[in-house]
Symmetry: C2
Subunit: 404 residues, 2 copies
């Protein structure tokens, strides 16, 4: 199967591209290296020393004989995207090429506008390119469980049958996203449903939970293939960040009461879910939604798991509650369905001590690269403008640099 | 009350600005004349000869002594918007400043992307400007009944109580918009709900039905104040278009079976609804939704009303069914609630013979300005790219011009 991975240099995208290539698919990557640029902007870097994409792809070819084609460009540039589609002619397009950090979208107005325009226009371009050039190609789009928010009813997979005043219909599940980033994914979802309906496109919207882990079988083959491991307050997902905090003796920073419950999954399940979606495409005109996670945890439960794993390694791990920089419920009902990928054959890897050990070992291995100043939340949902704080932080860096 | 009308040079915006000014409010207009530009682009013009805004405002001041302040600029330009907000310091902002034609958004990719970026960024900018500069100002935002689509259950006003597997919650009403334009309004709605929640802003989302009519008491005071009357396939709303067709003996063009049922209202009720919303602001943190229409009709019923009115005026009016250029249900259940504005005091003006007579008389009065070539639908929802047809049409115009 010919599969094009948009955003294939990113955290999930890179792991997915390697996995699909290893599984015998013909894989190409589209990327504009925006993710690396955001690290420069924020003054942070991945814990793991990732290599330039060209080097990664060269090593992959040397190790496996598999060529992953690369198209460098921006999906918001329609001419570029269309020419890449025409050149590669994919059977499936896996779309990870979006700005994916909620805190990044909440820095200030410019970051909110950037996130929404970037994500919405990229996806619109992709829909039009498929309509024009590859109408039978299956779009596998990364959404997020965060689109749903935390309603007081069970969360279904994309659609819900509603009975109201004696009548019934199956309608899109109501969305209550919690950041300008999560909103951008809701916008995408509505645009995709419409494009499938009017043009007969086929799409799968993968509403993914919080991903943890960094190692996949493929990435583990050579250090040059190592995946990124973000632990900063903006791009770091919570379990990865807690492991880094445990490794350096920093208290685990739980926002508020920590009752915020979310779906989680291992990155090794992410890549399998994507392949399952590709191998079992949606029908023409269908925009189906899979909730892509394997377990639910509250943030406090995650912290407690990391604490226990840390103790086993002889680390003194403390848990610290701090004011929640986000606007969200700190205690709430949460029960989200996630059976459709299991019906397609997913065998979930549950979060176990061994996985936590390996994550913590990675954190310990690259301990000298940890910058503890990027762990605490600086982006506050309520302020509307966090650029000043960042400027102050950068000024301090400049002063430090000048003082040396 | 100080009220700023964004998009105050447009169809609903102009009528609203005059009405609010006449009612004693201190009114300002923000406009970038985009609406006039789109007429040039499409090669169409309003049936009524509207004057430049500067002239309209001068005449209004001469007639009434009321000054309407004007800020010329684009709401997608944050610096401009912020400086206008700082200068005028409104109590309410009425936001009409969006691209509002579904067919325009469906012309091709560029028009779809333009519509969504223009509308979403303008509204995001406004939310951030209010947060930063006027956090207590009440945002009155024009949404559309088209956000809901045509579900098989009753349409509530913005939110619906759902009982699901033994639990209950009040959630945003599921949206199934039918064009990239309608989608842009759904995106706006989600962004607004979030901004009210995290920043405590106060907003009213007016999900307006199809507006008809052109005359208001204020616009009727002088021909220089006349409002626009769009009848072309892109910007013309259906009742106005049917009246023009009847006036020139063109069959009324009903798309498909004509069972498409929508909410309608008189433009004289639009302006009253907006004032009612301003006078009864939402609470801080509240994003309330009013369904702003007074009657439901199917498209075929509207055609039959115009036919009857035409017969009374001695006009032979035929109804022609043509293939529906849109992707929509041609027969469906439709029952939308609309009691909240009535609870606030709206006394609906129902579509009557006399209103239809006056509309038809306007169409007859300006009959020589009617261009019958712009009545038939050229924008097709299924094609994804209608720019070629338009280019052909323009080429024909060029050939004609050259041949003269």
């Amino acid at each position: 199967m010919k599969i094009c991975v948009l955003g294939g240099d990113g955290y999930c995208g890179w792991a997915t591209a390697l996995y699909l290539s290893q599984r015998g698919h013909s894989v190409s990557i589209i990327d504009n290296f925006a993710r690396r640029q955001w690290d420069y902007e924020l003054g942070v870097q991945t814990l793991t020393p990732i290599r330039p994409l060209a080097e990664r792809l060269r090593v992959w070819q040397q190790l496996t004989g598999n060529v992953i084609e690369l198209y460098v460009g921006d999906v918001t540039d329609y001419d570029f995207l269309a020419s890449a589609m025409q050149s590669f002619e994919p059977d499936s397009v896996v779309h990870f090429a979006e700005q994916r950090a909620a805190p990044y979208s909440m820095i200030d107005r410019k970051h909110a506008v950037f996130t929404q325009v970037n994500n919405v226009v990229g996806t619109l371009n992709l829909l039009f390119a498929l309509r024009e050039l590859q109408p039978d190609c299956h779009l596998v789009k990364l959404g997020t469980m965060g689109e749903y928010g935390t309603p007081n009813i069970d969360i279904e997979e994309g659609y819900i049958e509603i009975e109201h005043r004696g009548r019934r219909d199956v309608l899109p599940f109501p969305k209550q996203p919690g950041s300008f980033y999560h909103l951008s994914k809701v916008h995408d979802s509505h645009n995709m449903m419409f494009a499938c309906k009017i043009w007969g496109l086929r799409a799968t919207d993968l509403n993914q939970g919080v991903v943890y882990g960094t190692t996949t079988d493929e990435a583990a083959m050579d250090e040059a293939l190592i995946n990124r491991f973000d632990y900063d307050e903006v791009f770091g997902t919570v379990l990865n960040r807690f492991c880094v905090q445990a490794a350096i003796g920093h208290p685990l920073t739980v926002y508020g009461q920590g009752g915020q419950t979310r779906g989680f999954l291992d990155i090794r399940d992410t890549v399998r879910c994507v392949e399952l979606a590709c191998l079992n495409p949606a029908a023409p005109g269908e925009c189906r939604v899979f909730n892509q996670f394997t377990e639910q945890f509250s943030v406090l439960e995650v912290a407690q798991l990391v604490q226990t794993a840390g103790h086993k390694l002889g680390l003194a791990v403390e848990i610290e509650h701090m004011p929640d920089p986000r606007v969200e419920k700190e205690q709430h009902y949460y029960n989200a369905k996630h059976s459709k990928l299991i019906d397609l054959g997913l065998k979930p890897r549950y979060l176990s001590d061994s996985l936590l050990d390996s994550l913590m070992n990675i954190a310990l291995e690259y301990r000298e690269r940890i910058d503890s100043s990027v762990l605490l939340p600086q982006v506050n949902w309520r302020s509307g403008a966090n650029e000043r704080k960042r400027q102050v932080a950068l000024t301090e860096v400049a002063a430090l640099a000048g003082g040396r």
